[in-house]
Amino acid sequence: MWEYTDTVQDHFINPRNVGEIERADGVGNVGSLACGDALRLTIKVDANQVITDAKFKTFGCASAIASSSVLTEMIKGMKLEEAKKLTNDDIAKALGGLPKEKMHCSVMGREALEAAIANYTGAILPMAQGEVVCECFGVTDLEIIRAIRENSLTSVEDITNFTKAGGGCGKCEGKLRALLAETAAGAAGHTPSAPKKKRMTTLEKIKKIEEVIEREIKPNLKKDGGDIQLIDVDGDFVTVSLRGACANCSSARTTLKEYVEKKLREQVLETLIVEEDK
């Protein structure tokens, strides 16, 4: 059994500031179900750049819940500039310490705070994927391409409605147009047409597979802490290596067949067979 301090137990049994602030000024989402813990922190910031309210929702163990709870108490009334300097160690200390195996819970608290502040200030988190297209709202090309694909967007106005990109200074409008055109071209490319498939050279095939993995599959897996690498293409057999969280994930096979293979079949060639490099 873990040796939790009285403070940890108190925050776990009687968590403070549970919930979500409506129309929060900053929202930080970190972690995932796969990792076993996740935290959504919402903050309210006033005109003096002071955090006036903070609420959390956490999926995780006692120390994850306690770290989140104590974090909300710590940052309430704190100036944004001070909050930015808060470390995971500060959170752990406020709890009277955490078992060292549980320190990641305090790290998650800090990351959620960073994310929430970044979300408020519009700053970019280093962990954000892809190349930022819209600097005002910190939206990356990957996010935009996905929005275009999944929602069949056809105009810059659509993109702004779905992703906020282009809704600020508008400087990125040209880039957004380019992304629209590229994505539309990619979509046309995968419209099933038998003669085209036959004509695809091996080199083209590899290039196309690589492109889909990099553009779409990898960013999606990374969101759950996973990663993927193309190892080999031999005829219709595509060998990939699952990395990160995917490497030990019990659903790796499902991911491989239901997601990776499906995507590659949709967008490259219907006859592809994806296998994992063991």
Binding site: G36, C61, S251
Partner: protein
Amino acid sequence: MAVLPEQVIYMDNNATTRIAPEVLDAMMPYLTRFYGNPSSMYTFGGQVGRAINQAREEVAGLLGAAPGEIVFTSCGTESDSTAILSAIQTNPEKNHLVTTKVEHPAVKNLCDNLEIFTGRKYHVTRLPVASDGTLDLQRFKDSLTDETAIVSVMWANNETGVLFPVEEMARIARERGILFHTDAVQAVGKIPIDLKQTAIDFLSLSGHKLHAPKGVGVLYVRKGTPYIPFLNGGHQEHGRRGGTENVASIVGLGRACALAAEKMAEENTRVRALRDKLEHGLLTAIPKSLRNGHPSQRLPNTANISFEYVEGEAILLHMNQANICASSGSACTSGSLEPSHVLRAMGVPFTAAHGSIRFSLSIYNTEQEVDFVLATLPGIIAKLRALSPFWEDK
């Protein structure tokens, strides 16, 4: 803050069990007045030796074995190591082992280490399981080779209670001339076992899983099986396990085995009914909860239930507040960052694996206790789900 045993609802009997009062009574004389060494020549020691032999008969009786096939050890882990290491030493020309992906660490880590620390001299086939935790017999057959020194497959899984068809598997191994070991630590005392009707060569059991004390176990070694001891020393256990006997615990284990034989019917009727009531009640009362493991092909006392979108350690600590003892396959309870290897081998999704709770009952549980758990748990899950960022999305 200390918790008195009387206040506790103990549903973690696959972890350990209380010592039966009858067992303790049987042990006490050997912890107090009768302290002689069973190897001594005088009556004062010799009568202790007789008590060990009686215990040997009682253990053999529960297993359907001959007393001479029973070797007392210090725990289930020692029994497992003894069997597997003996088999590879008596088959020096063979370099392959077959086991499953869901073994207890006592077998799992031994096999892993055999691969790693021998520079891959040995290689291990780890059989996968289906989503209900069961094994594919054809796959087992296909895994056997002329190089296979031993098969080690658990009789019942400690986390889910799922039973493996070890009797049939042992027959298949025998046909190929391969030794067969089963870790029956969870099965002994809960389901009928008759070893003389089987082709099982080695079987491990542990005292503290069936109401005997911790620190005593048994390795069953079928008569005529080639054998090399793990602990070398004196002539104890006919030279099969050195070290002065843990007399009181061995006597206790004998009594516990006799008791288990008496209570076998109750275990499979009343305890099973309590387990079923608990499981059905929880699955009905709590949305997004699911059973892990085959519904019928499992121990009568075990229920492994996942509560989606909440995390196991948090559930256990809330249960602890209500003095309910159980365990979890979540990552956080073990200190690793990954949930149980058993649930992962079954392909239980992460949403469910992190929130799995194992309830394991015994003959000492009552219907009132089950009712209390049924009244308490839905509130705990609801409270934690109210905290969960994933739950509201459902």
